[in-house]
């Protein structure tokens, strides 16, 4: 019974994806792809921020790395997308492992500032290294994958629905990895670090290694997001990888959805990506409504949208016990 209930959100997710695809509406399908993209970035950020408790404010650096790397591999080397899907997360992880030990000497606000600086450096490079990145003009002509599979099971990656299926497959695979990781010893040790680094060291764990691993996983997953972005949009420029557009947005998606939760990244992304699309109004009013919704969610559900079930059931229990007490009093 318990296991069946745990399966329900997965079924709902797959059903929602199928429903979007069935509409055949290019706009809906594209918005759904963006939702998956933000959910991927947030679930990656969950490792270093949600579990280990380190405020990584430079995820955009790795997101940009994945996107620019994918663009270069496609445009300059005519490599298919799956090559970028293997190479770029490996590059993201490698860079994290090299700079991680240095960055993770700091913590709290200092780590936040160090990662912020990392994001700014990458933003600066994307703007100014014109020969490699195209500078502010960006890079176009990124080739989507062609036919994949055979016969009736074949999908055409060049079409929006084909790209949707590829994105959905990668997203679901990452969700399954996240679900398994969440119950793992590794994540328990990260949560021990978040709780008290010194106590965790006293139990014999070399906490720096675990933090670097979490940092590398977040970087690798953000790079996968970047590769997908480059192939979905087929054109990249510096703007989507800047602090407010990427690092900060991923942070908000995760915080609103619920730090350290499995479904938080999905719920946060659906709300934050969906809301601006649904709200068809004056851009200024839209921003006000958007801000108000965020404020309400953070006040009502400080542990994120994913804690909604717990909060509701706790309220129901409290009400039930109050009712029982009243009855007891009456009799």
């Amino acid at each position: 019974m318990h296991r069946l209930i745990a399966l329900l959100p997965w079924l709902a997710l797959v059903a929602a994806m199928a429903a979007v695809l069935a509409t055949g509406n290019g706009y809906y399908v594209t918005v759904a792809m963006l939702m998956m993209l933000w959910a991927i970035l947030a679930l990656g950020l969950n490792f270093i921020l949600g579990y280990a408790g380190y405020f990584h404010l430079g995820l955009g650096a790795f997101y940009g790395l994945g996107a620019y790397g994918a663009a270069a591999l496609s445009v300059s080397y005519q490599m298919p997308m799956f090559v970028a899907l293997l190479v770029m997360p490996a590059a993201g992880a490698l860079i994290s492992v090299v700079i991680g030990p240095l960055m993770l000497r700091t913590r709290d606000l200092h780590f936040a500032v160090a990662t912020l600086a990392l994001g700014m450096i990458v933003s600066d490079v994307t703007n100014n290294w014109v020969a490699a990145t195209g500078g502010p003009m960006g890079m176009g002509g990124i080739t989507r994958p062609g036919e994949i599979g055979i016969g009736p099971l074949a999908i055409d990656g060049a079409t929006t629905s084909g790209m949707f299926l590829i994105t959905a497959a990668i997203f679901l695979a990452l969700m399954i990895v996240a679900a398994i990781a969440r119950r793992s010893d590794f994540v328990l040790i990260l949560r021990g670090i978040k709780s008290d680094d010194m106590m965790t060291r006293s139990l014999g764990f070399s906490t720096t290694r675990y933090k670097v691993a979490a940092f590398a996983i977040s970087g690798a997953i953000a790079s996968i997001g970047g590769v997908l972005y480059a192939h979905i949009v087929q054109y990249i420029s510096p703007e989507p990888f800047t602090f407010f557009a990427a690092s900060f947005q991923a942070f908000v998606v995760l915080a609103v959805g619920g730090l350290g939760s499995l479904w938080g990244p999905v719920l946060g992304s659906v709300l934050l990506t969906g809301l601006p699309e649904v709200l068809e109004m004056d851009p200024h009013v839209k921003l006000l409504v958007y801000g108000a919704v965020l404020l309400i969610v953070t006040i009502v559900l400080p542990r994120g949208l994913a804690s909604m079930g717990q909060v509701l059931s706790a309220r129901a229990r409290a009400r039930a016990s109050a009712n029982a007490k009243i009855k007891e009093h009456q009799t």
Binding site: G53, L188, R191, S195, R201, S202, L203, G204
Partner: protein
């Protein structure tokens, strides 16, 4: 403590026959010009419980911090069963079987009691043997089973202390250093903690504990050390410590100590 008395943990063989579980010699630690720990030497045998006493500021916590590797020694050495660990970090000493608890536990807003015990049991320490109680048995012993799935910061302070002690015992310690294990704990729980500490010692763990509660230390410890201004001023049986003039001076000041002695 039903179930504990009828267990007979096998006495563990020390890796280097004859070497004490913990051996420190000439241990010093300076903070700037201040000697917080000054040339302290002592040995702790397997299965022994030693109390570390001293007035406020005597250097007790510094002593535990230097022994456990949280602080580096300015001079001197620390050995575990003959193995020199002076250059090792706290986490590497833990892997040699040296574990500690902290005086001020920052309550975890992240982990439940059961998760804390699971985390401890994942320790990379491969030395030592089990103290003979599983996580569930420890929870049952402390009558904590009902609270096992509550986030630690929502539990009373004394309960958190018990869970921390239970956790560290799951790490298969060879040497266990406890920094004020009874602070903020109710009397009934002190008795329970003391029983458990005795049980760990009976299974061969060498235990050093810093504590302000002198009565509990006297009841529990085979031997006491008294520190004053970073120096070891007494080592011996508990009752002798109370009768010792230097100890009285350290606690009461010279004048009152002299009056007490007549």
């Amino acid at each position: 403590m039903a179930g504990m008395a009828d267990r007979h943990p096998s006495p563990r063989a020390s890796p280097e026959a004859g070497a004490p579980a913990l051996d420190c010699s000439g241990l010093s630690r300076a903070f700037g010009g201040l000697m917080a720990l000054n040339d302290v030497s002592f040995r702790l045998g397997a299965g022994e419980i030693v109390g570390i006493l001293g007035p406020n500021g005597a250097g007790k916590t510094t002593f535990i911090n230097v022994l456990s590797g949280l602080l580096r020694a300015s001079a001197g050495s620390v050995r575990i069963y003959g193995d020199d660990v002076t250059a090792l970090s706290m986490e590497d000493r833990a892997r040699k079987g040296l574990f500690r608890t902290f005086q001020n536990t920052r309550p975890s807003e992240e982990l439940t009691g059961r998760e804390m015990l699971r985390l401890a049991s994942l320790t990379p320490n491969r030395t030592g043997t089990s103290v003979g109680l599983s996580a569930d048995e420890l929870l049952a012993t402390f009558e904590l089973t009902a609270f096992a799935d509550v986030i630690l910061s929502d539990l009373p302070y004394g309960v958190q202390k018990m869970i921390n002690l239970a956790a560290v015992s799951l790490c298969r310690p060879r040497v266990l250093l406890l920094d004020e294990p009874f602070q903020g704990v109710a009397d009934a729980e002190i008795a329970r903690l003391s029983d458990l500490i005795r049980h760990f010692a009976a299974s061969g763990v060498a235990i050093g504990l810093v504590e302000h509660n002198v009565r509990s230390v006297m009841a529990l410890c085979d031997r006491v050390l008294v520190l004053d201004s970073g120096a070891l001023i007494f080592e011996g049986k508990g009752p002798d410590a109370i009768a010792d003039l230097r100890v009285q001076e350290a606690y009461l000041g010279q004048r009152f100590a002299r009056e007490l002695h007549g």
